[in-house]
Structures are given as C-alpha cells and as structure tokens.
Amino acid sequence: MMQMLSNCIPLLTIVASVLFIYTLRGLSTAATSSNGNLCGMIGMAMAIACPFLHYMLLPSQNDASWQVLGSWAVMGVGGIIGLCIARRIDMAALPQLVAAFHSLVGLAAVFIACAVFAAPDAFGIVESAYNSIPMSNATEMSIGAAIGAITFTGSVVAFGKLQGLISGKPLRYRGQHIVNLSIAIMTAIAIIMFIIDQASWIFCAVILLSLIIGYLLIMPIGGADMPVIVSMLNSYSGWAAAGIGFTLENNLLIIVGALVGTSGAILSNIMCKGMNRSLMNVVLGGLGGGGDQVAALDSSVRGNVKVCNPEDAAFIISNAGSVIVVPGYGMAVAQAQHAIKELADILKGEGTTVKYAIHPVAGRMPGHMNVLLAESNIPYDDVFELDDINHEFGATDVVIVVGANDITNPSAKTDPTSPIYGMPVLDVEKAKTVLFVKRSLGSGYAGVDNPLFYRENTMMILGDARKVVEGILKAIKE
C-alpha cells in the first residue's frame, strides 16, 4: 500500500504537467479553450494531492494532523477570497487584476524561499538542520527569491498605475540608469556573498534589494507600455517558480515555471513588435518621456480640424455600406463596448457589414480589447487582428476609431523622425471617411501629433466614448 502511494507521486506529477501543457494548447481556438481550462484545474488538483500523499508516507513521529487541517483551512480561505475576486471583478479592471495576481505569485515565491532558508532539512536538501545548504541549491534559491521579489514590487507598481493609484506618467530623474545599475550590481554581489556565507542578514539583503529593483524598474514606465510590462511580469512569475523548482529539485515546478516563463516572454515579444520597439527600449524607457519629445507637426500639415456632432456622424454611418470599428483604451475607460454592440446590431439589420480591427497593443494588456468586445456579445467572427484586416480599409466606407490614437497614426509609416516611426499601424486613412471619437484633440500617449486629425476625410467627435456612441445611436434610431 505504502509502495503504491509512493509511486503515485511521480505519476501524478507527470500527468499534471501534461494537463498543464494541454491547458495552454486548448487556448489555440475558442472552441477548445474551456476544456483546456478544465484540464488545468484537474492538473492543479493532482499537484496539490502530492504533498498530502507525501505527508502520509512519512514515518509518523508525532501526530500533526492539525497541520493537515490547518493547510485545508488556509487553502479554503484563500480559495474563497480568490473566488470572490474572480466573480465580482468588473472586466474593465482586468489588467490591474492580472497585475495584482502576478504580485501574489512573486510574494509566495519569496515566502517559500524564506521557508526553505528557515528549515532546509524539511525539504530534503540537507541532511540535518545544522548542515549548510549546498552551493547549487543556495544559488537557485537566492535567484528564485530575487526574481520573486522583483515580480512582487514590480506588479504592485503596475497595479497602482493601472488602477490610477499611482500617476501613469513615467517617473524619471537624472542618473536613473546609474542608480538602477548599481543596485543590480549590489544584488548580484549579495547573491554571491550568500552562496559563500549563508548568513540570514545577507539573505534579507538579497530580498530587500530585489524589492527595490522591482519598484525602480516599473516606476519609470508609462501607461501605454503596460501591455509589455504586464507580459514581462507574467514571464518573471514563471521564472521565479522555476527557480524554486530548481532549489527543491521539484520537476513539476521546473516544467510549469518554464511553460509560464516562455509564455510571458512570447507575449512581451508580440507586444514589443506591435510597437516596433525592443524590450530593452521599453524597460529602459524611451517613449512618452514628456514635453521634450512632442513632435509637433509643422503648420503646413496642420490644417483645420473638422469637428462634428453625433447627429452628423449618425447620418454618415447610416449611409455607409461597410463599417470598421477600431477600439482603443478610450473605449475600455468609457465602457463604450455595449453601446457599440447595439449600434452594430442596428447597422447589421440594415445590411451594413460591421467589423472590428484590433491592434496588438490596443488597451493595457494583451487581448484586452478582445475580452471587452466578447463581454458585450460581439461575435468572435467579426473581430480581426491587424494583419488580417489591414488590406480592407481601402474598400471601407466608414471607420470609427473609438478612443485610439497612436495605433492609427500614419506618420509611423511616412515620417522617419517620428518617435513611433516603424510601428505597425492600422491603415484607417485609406477609408472614405474616418470618424474619430476622442476625449480631446490632444496628442496620444506617445506625445506625437496625429496628421489624421487634419485630413479632408476625417471628422472628429469630441467627448466621452460611451456618451458619443450613445448619441449616435439615439440619432440613428430616430
């Protein structure tokens, strides 16, 4: 019986790993994704069973069943908190919620590293409590703890910025890179010192310095770069798990850590490509630095801006045969997606084709726009990615840009001096009419003026995205 149980643990580990891979595989299509998520839950249940089996197999020296009950109680409390958060959360708050979840993984990794440091013998990496931790385990442990700590404070700052608790404006000061570099070097030195002499104050120093790095790394980064940062922190949380896995020689953690780490890395890469920037450039900060970088257009390009009201827009839209909606962060802020869906339904009823064009970096996290459109029951088949729809703008009557700016800026294609030059953009200017729903005439996040505003075929409708779309809706209904 005991033999059977002890064989169970590696078996469960393998099955759980396969189920986790299948979870990610399921996300390749919307149809298979729910089953994939279910596989993930089963895999997690199997993984959680392992430590309990392990406990049962121990030669019992004292009755510690309160520890079993205690673990269930703690998991239960955590689970209920998690359930409430997941149920209650407004989809508009999705990016900050994901950032908050990342911070929890980072903090948990730090706590686990502390637990291992406090009692290495309990995890079987040393013979007795009086032996020092082997060098390789100490290396992996300190690196795991450092990545966990960076993930924690980095995600907390990202959360604060997304939630609006901290100004989304990048925080910059003179000598910033030198300060960051010297703290990074200090951390590296502390890790090396810890490997040689496992004093607890050095371990604390490693964690403390890493916490500072996480804060300093994310503070200078502005709101629109958040898709990259959230993906990067996603990746870090995976590497932290892998680091803990290496320390404790736990294959499941290594596999999961590698899966999550690569997943986050791929997402950050996709987001960087969507902005035509390197990860280093985003992290070190280059864009949206403030006043000095505003590339104002010369007056020859600047012409008159045509501002119209929702009633005029309704007239134009109702005469169109094809419409493409380009959503941006402004739609998310104003929660305009439900009004857009209603408008699209009316137009479709009159035989107009309505499509949606999603730029990879629209919004504040990867896939942000898709989730909001799906929330308002907009059909999955009407929503297109940049590469799939960009050739269609020329044949489109009306493009409605809702709360987006830089991702439509044609100067990214034509003006080599523009800070966003080279960034892939949606070719909305090729459409017969472009309706810009925007809060103000201000420049976009990148601080770049958008020549589209001054074009003959562009109409600006200023105001809150939801109110404007509702206004159009009302006018069309009449």
Partner: protein, 106 residues
C-alpha cells in the same frame, strides 16, 4: 554541481512552452495570461510541503518555515482559484457565441 536532469527538463519544457504558446490565437491572449498566472501558483505544492512536512519532528516545535509556508499557501490559493475562475469567466464570454472556431492559425 548542476543537476543535468533538471536542466534537461527545464530546456525541453521551454521548447514545449514556446511552440504551444505560439499557437495561441491573439484573441485569447488575456485568458492566456490569467491561466498561466493560475498554473504558476503550482508553487503551492512546496508551500504545503513546508506546512505539512516542515516540522514533523516535535523537537523544534512550530518554526518560521511553517509560518512562511502558510502565508505562501494562502497567497497561492487566492491565485489558483482566482486565476482559473477568471479564465473560465472570460472564456465563457468567448464561447457563448462560437459559430466556427477561427480558421487562421490552424
């Protein structure tokens, strides 16, 4: 010093992760983030080890490792349930109007 077996597993898992995630449709990138967040909380396994096995010998009583482990269990449990449930909620919004699964990236 380095454990070759673990490194092999790590590198192979990176490759698996790379090819699997590359196939994920861009529309589902948000659920991808929340589900990877949930599964990275599998570190709860070692946190539970800290609590359950941590101080199995009565000699030293309840030590710091049990408390650290318990905190980690709490945080990871929030993440696991929160992450999976959030993913489920998002996916149900996509699934409710599936007509045909996307033909691109097959």
């Amino acid at each position: 010093m380095l454990n070759a077996e673990m490194i092999t597993i790590f590198i192979l898992a990176c490759f698996v992760g790379y090819y699997v995630v590359l196939k994920v449709t861009p529309a589902l990138h948000a659920p991808l983030m929340s589900v990877t967040n949930a599964i990275s909380s599998v570190i709860i396994v070692v946190a539970l080890d800290a609590v359950l096995v941590g101080l199995h010998d009565a000699e030293r009583g309840v030590g710091a490792s049990v408390w650290f482990g318990a905190f980690a269990v709490l945080l990871a449990a929030v993440n696991i349930v929160g992450g999976f449930m959030l993913t489920r909620r998002m996916l149900s919004m996509f699934a409710s109007k599936k007509k045909r699964s996307t033909e691109k990236r097959s």
